[in-house]
């Protein structure tokens, strides 16, 4: 007997596997208090793995598309699970029906279960995004690991995750062409820009990781040969950049997901650790144009449509796993100046896993964060309360509330209707954070602090958090040449507990995130 929509001939094994998968998912879903409200009997083997279809509801609800294997519900949130071995046409039909009936609320979400990890990676490619629009992915292997870990722990570890397999730990470093989508000035004097680019291929970068980018469009040859005098462009006598420049990822964008989708999405935390979206292919960096900076000046001149080569993802991709392994309950991100930029990407990921996040932004003044939605030349712009502000609006988009956002600035020009007055502070962000910790009775919760910014700020935070027994991780920044760990340019002095002597660690390959307690500050 074949199954509707499935390739013929493999049904017996598939039915058995599907039943196992369902039984494991029930373990995970029960942690998040989800109930199974519908099962398609044709897709499972009755009596396998404690499954008793006669006790289950096998009547397909009106709003559930045919082909969905089972549905879990909690309050008004519904998860519709689907096995990935149905034809692409059928799958995209299902996904479209879920999306259309849901109207962008993320009350109903589709989850495609793929048999193996390699298959899932393939499904997540951007080129296949239209086959499963606005849906999530998971795979048998990850579901099994998660369920095993939960049963081993007696259902206690909320965010922990099983040890990784080798295939998980290594994403290869790619050199890809990217197209500039937008490059707009931010703040009053055009000293900062945000640049959005789209990569030619899926680019699986995780928080804390960074890229190295060309700052001028790439010609046929990287460096041209001798140029005849008459064809020389004398403006070229100004210094030009040679090496690529490192930048943290500020935000990432996913096909079919609105940029503020995290405001609505609230994934069940246990399940979230085995759910994946399509790979991102659009990214934003936020950068400061340095006064004597050659590369950042070139970068600010890039026009929409320019093509640049970028290399990445660079740096370790372990941070989210570590946070889960350490069962952290609340995360404080503290950013000084452009240091906040990569932390926004971090918050995006943390919000995906439903973490409580508090953000502390240090800036010269809030008007330095504002930009116009329409193109403008940046120099004479004046800003109003309506204009969006990077960081603040970015954080609100991830679902953070105004009261979770704190801003310190040096002086006037810093009103902001989007966050409570009490959360504004005049002075250093490290002082504001210190004050926050003093006032908050944060005592019992397991907090982790993450910081990025000027060395002085991070040094101050290291001693503040030390006083409260809060572990602090810092994103380090050093001059780089290769970005991949071979040239030893980008080192910082570190000493791990138990090590007799300090050594120079590579920020690009061993970091850029380090435990602050291991850094020897200069």
């Amino acid at each position: 007997m074949g199954i509707k929509g499935y390739p013929a001939g493999i049904s017996a094994n598939i039915l058995n596997d599907n039943s196992l998968c369902l039984s494991l998912l029930r373990i995970i879903l029960s942690i998040d208090k989800y109930r199974i409200i519908y099962i398609d009997p044709c897709q499972f083997k009755d009596d396998a793995f404690g499954l008793n279809l006669r006790e289950m509801n096998c009547l397909r609800p009106m709003d559930t598309p045919e082909g969905v294997a089972f549905v879990a519900q909690h309050d008004k949130k519904k998860l519709l699970f689907c096995f990935g071995d149905q034809g692409p046409a059928r799958l995209s039909e299902i996904a479209n029906m879920i999306r259309d009936s849901d109207k962008g609320q993320f009350d109903s979400i589709g989850i495609m279960i793929v048999r193996d990890e390699a298959g899932m990676k393939d499904r997540r490619r951007v080129s296949k995004a239209d086959e499963w629009p606005r849906g999530f992915f998971s795979c048998f292997e990850e579901i099994r690991r998660k369920a095993e870990e939960l049963t081993a722990k007696g259902h206690s570890g909320r965010h922990t995750c099983a040890p990784l397999t080798e295939s998980h730990m290594r994403t290869s470093i790619m050199s890809v062409m990217a197209e500039v989508k937008e490059n707009i000035p931010v703040g009053e004097n055009g000293g900062h820009y945000k640049l959005r680019f789209q990569t030619a291929r899926s680019f699986n970068v995780t928080p804390g990781q960074f890229i190295m980018t060309d700052t001028t469009p790439r010609g046929q040859d990287t460096i041209a040969g001798p140029v005849a005098l008459e064809s020389m462009n004398f403006s070229r006598i100004a210094p030009r950049s040679y090496l690529k420049r490192p930048f943290g990822i500020h935000r990432s964008f996913y096909r079919h997901f609105d940029k503020d989708y995290l405001q609505k999405l609230s994934l069940p935390p246990a399940l979230a650790t085995v759910l994946h979206t399509v790979f991102p292919d659009e990214f934003e960096i936020f950068y400061k144009v340095l006064t004597n900076g050659v590369g950042t000046k070139e970068l600010s001149g890039l026009k929409k449509g320019a093509r640049i080569q970028i290399v990445g993802p660079l740096g370790k991709d372990r941070i989210i796993r570590e946070i889960r392994d350490e069962a952290v309950e609340e995360i404080h991100v503290i950013g000084g100046g452009v240091g906040m930029a990569p932390l926004i990407f971090m918050v995006q990921a943390l919000r995906y896993y439903s973490y409580n996040v508090k953000a502390f932004i240090g800036t010269e003044k809030i008007s330095m964060l504002k930009y116009k939605r329409e193109a403008f030349d940046g120099l004479d712009a004046t800003f109003t309360d309506e204009d969006p502000a990077i960081y603040i609006d970015d954080l609100l988009e991830t679902g953070l509330k105004g009261e979770d956002i704190y801003v310190s600035s040096a002086g006037p020009g810093s009103s902001c209707a989007k966050i409570p007055e009490n959360n504004l502070y005049e002075g250093f962000v490290s002082d504001q954070y210190n004050k926050y910790l003093r006032d908050a009775s944060a005592g019992r919760k397991k907090i982790l602090a993450l910081a990025c910014g000027p060395t002085g700020m991070m040094k101050a935070l290291a001693s503040i958090t030390g006083g409260y027994g809060i572990p602090l991780k810092v994103l380090m920044e050093k001059r780089m040449a290769c970005g991949i760990g071979v040239c030893l340019s980008c080192v910082c002095e570190t000493k791990k507990p138990g090590e007799a002597e300090s050594k120079y660690s590579r920020v690009c390959a061993d970091g850029p995130i380090f435990n602050a307690s291991e850094i020897i500050w200069q």
Binding site: I173, S175, T222, M480, G485, V486, C487, V491
Partner: protein, 320 residues
Amino acid sequence: MAINKLKVTLKHLRLKTPLMTASGTAGHGDELTVLDNYQEILGALGAFVTKGITFKPRKGNPKIRVIETRMGLLNSIGLQNSGVKVFLKDELPLTLQYKLPIIVNISADTVEEFGELAAYLIDNDVNSIISGIEINVSCPNLGEHGSIFGTDPKAVERVVGTVKKRVGDKVLVITKLTPNVTDITGPAKAAIAGGTDVLSMINTLRGIAIDTTNCRPFLGNISGGLSGPAIKPVGVFMVYECYKKIPECMNKSVPIIGIGGISTYSDALEYIMAGATAVGIGTAWFVNPRIFEEIAKGISDYLGNNNTTVEELVGKAHGH
């Protein structure tokens, strides 16, 4: 790719292409394996040259270690490495998976230490993994001592002679020359007198960059070594000079590896035409991770279009 047109030999060592990594710019373990174009890189390379190692571990230089200058890179890494013992035990075995001839770059503060280090490498290389030893007589980051070797022909001859005596003919002995001299043929001839099998040139040129915002040199070590496109004409000149003025170079009994600023296939061809049998690529690889395959393809196309081979092009600029 017409691979046999690309093949060259350095003495008895056969290379499938004339391209090599430049020491210190491609690590010395399995670092390349993380790249998505790893297989393409291995396909394009004829040999792998490790980062410089010393007998004892070295911590390296403090503070700022690199600064970009116009079309160049100034570095003072200071030979950070974990020492020959860890190198042999943990790092070199990883490099094996590249399945390329491996050339180990060595540095030391004294003649004796050079000899000890070379002997230690060879004696403990039980599986004969190492194809060549490149003597770095020219690292400018070792304070005064480093430069003394490279700029004093007598010292070069002593270092090379000592190393050659300790390793014999087991592996190729390559001497890497410094460009910080008035006449490159002096140290080149001295290295040949000392018994070197191959010459490689150039290492970095010494330079300083000053931060005008605080009136101090950028680098923690004050001065550093300049690499990248800015130094290419200097490197090509030195290869040209050695080829022209030293009979052993011209008759290829002591072949030359040309290094310095190569960024395109035509840069590589310039070195070859000046007299280099093989070429090393360093800094440009930081800028474009696909440089090796792009250059290999460029050379291969050139050879096809001109119906020639790399070996025929060596020294072609000298007009015979």
